[in-house]
């Protein structure tokens, strides 16, 4: 057991850290999911050919860190694991000297693009919908996917049509801002490399 800074670092029985060290499938699955979410973020799309390798590399780093008891169990393990994933991906960017803006923000591939670009579109759209609020998701879904008109949506949600119209626009605006923030964050990352 390692003593560091006067504190005893050990992973509690049944903690995710300990279960990961024991190769418990559910713990492994959980950590793999955390890693996958980070690596497949739009900012890391230029690295998509390396995702599987980066996933393995990240997992190895996390496990190695746990085995050496370098992770402080009082911290949030998810944040730590995802931090390792981000760091690993950024290192890969450094190796490739790739342009982080290849797929960023509102530079979505055109609708007439090929299968690869269309797959990217689907991934980005999914990410956008994961980031907006549930009421916004519902509104966007009703209007754009189910193709209901304002009157139908207003009746369904028991709200005035004007409210529906302004809310829907605000949802689009919020999603756009979120995309924009991501692009800026990419820019910062690239400039610090």
């Amino acid at each position: 057991m390692t003593i560091r800074g006067g504190a005893t670092l050990a992973y509690a029985r049944n903690s995710i850290e300990q279960r990961l060290l024991e190769d418990e499938p559910q713990a492994l699955g959980q950590v793999v999911r955390w890693i996958s979410v980070v690596l497949t973020a739009p900012r890391f799309w230029p690295l998509r050919a390396e995702w599987a390798d980066l996933q393995q590399e990240t997992l190895m780093r996390i496990i190695s860190s746990l085995r050496q008891e370098r992770f402080d169990p009082s911290r949030d393990f998810r944040a730590y694991a995802q931090g390792v994933a981000r760091y690993t991906a950024l290192q890969a960017f450094g190796r490739k000297r790739h342009d982080a803006f290849e797929i960023a923000g509102d530079d979505l591939p055109s609708p007439a693009a090929g299968p690869e670009e269309r797959a990217i579109q689907h991934q980005l759209v999914r990410r956008i919908f994961e980031q907006i609020s549930e009421p916004c998701r519902e509104l966007v879904r009703l209007y754009f996917l189910d193709e209901q008109d304002y009157e139908e949506i207003a009746g369904r949600l028991s709200l005035p049509q004007g409210t529906i119209k302004s809310r829907l626009f605000r949802c689009l605006q919020a999603a756009h801002r979120s995309l924009h923030r991501k692009a800026l964050s990419c820019e910062r990352m690239a400039s610090t490399e």
Binding site: M1, G29, V32, R33, W51, Q55, A119, L124, Q173
Partner: protein, 288 residues
């Protein structure tokens, strides 16, 4: 409400192409002069077709981690729905690739130990290992329990693919060889390593009806056997045909730093075992 606000709330209708042509033309005039509205409209003009094409799948919850694992193994009960989701979800697809890779040879890991000739085991090396060394693994489990007093802190024995994934099982890949050709491979074992995986490409006799037994052992520099195992040729043949390698798990605790001879062969007519396969493994011990 300002004029700009009035245009803004009509942007969804413009994006969805639900505006009358006159209104649409007026909107486009506004967009030409308004950066903010133009950026939002332009981004959503690209998103909406993808949204319609992706359909409901874009709004679905992600399948559970274990569902994706089962899907990777072809054991999911909801394979169609999961496949559709995976097709549209990069993170889930990456998870599936992870689980699928655990049933394959983990080529990236094995590649590091390839011979200069470039040979590498094709697929499912670990499943071969799991199948062939089950007996050895069980024996090792019992052995390891006795060897390591801190077993409670350490992971229990795991199948080779899990052990290798977590870095707990270094491996050495031995190419096809003939007696005395001097194949030598180096491997470093750490204090935390509980097993060494030896993956050997071994030629088996042509006769598929042969039902003899094979014996393999690992001897130190003094010729003392530190590990041995026996396998029947039928099992070896099936796995070698599927995987091109035969894998063995050797307890790392029994291996001090030094040179070892890994040798083995079929039960000879004389009653002993031939050692037609022979290679040298040089073990070094890492500090930590």
């Amino acid at each position: 409400m300002s004029c700009h606000d009035e245009f803004q709330i009509e942007i969804p209708a413009y994006i969805a192409s639900r505006m009358a042509s006159d209104a649409s033309r007026i909107m486009e005039e506004h967009l030409r002069g308004c950066d903010e509205c133009r950026e939002i409209a332009s981004a959503w003009k690209a998103i909406v077709p993808a949204l319609r094409e992706g359909g409901e799948a874009l709004f679905e919850e992600h399948p559970l981690e274990m569902t994706l694992r089962d899907h990777a193994r072809g054991e999911s009960r909801h394979d169609g729905a999961v496949a559709r989701h995976v097709d549209r979800c990069a993170s889930c697809e990456l998870e599936v690739r992870f689980w699928a890779s655990r049933h394959e040879p983990a080529e990236v890991r094995v590649r590091a130990a390839l011979t200069p000739s470039g040979w590498r085991p094709p697929h499912a090396i670990w499943s071969a290992a799991a199948g062939l060394v089950a007996g050895a693994a069980m024996a090792y489990f019992v052995l390891a329990s006795g060897l390591h007093s801190d077993a409670g802190r350490r992971a229990a024995w795991a199948p080779p693919e899990i052990a290798a994934l977590s870095g707990r099982a270094p491996q050495v890949v031995l190419p096809r060889t003939v007696r005395g050709d001097g194949v030598e491979r180096h491997v470093s074992l750490g204090a935390a390593d509980r097993s060494l995986i030896i993956a050997a490409q071994i030629d088996l006799p042509e006769d598929p009806g042969d039902a003899g037994r094979y014996r393999f052992d690992l001897r130190d520099g003094d010729g003392t056997s530190v590990w041995s195992t026996e396998l029947d040729s039928g099992t070896m043949r099936a796995d070698a045909e599927a995987n091109e390698v035969i894998s063995f798990v050797v307890p790392a605790g029994s291996l001090a730093a030094g040179r070892y001879t890994f040798a083995g062969g079929p039960d000879a007519a004389t009653g002993g075992f031939d050692s037609s396969y022979r290679a040298t493994i040089v073990v070094s011990r890492a500090e930590n």
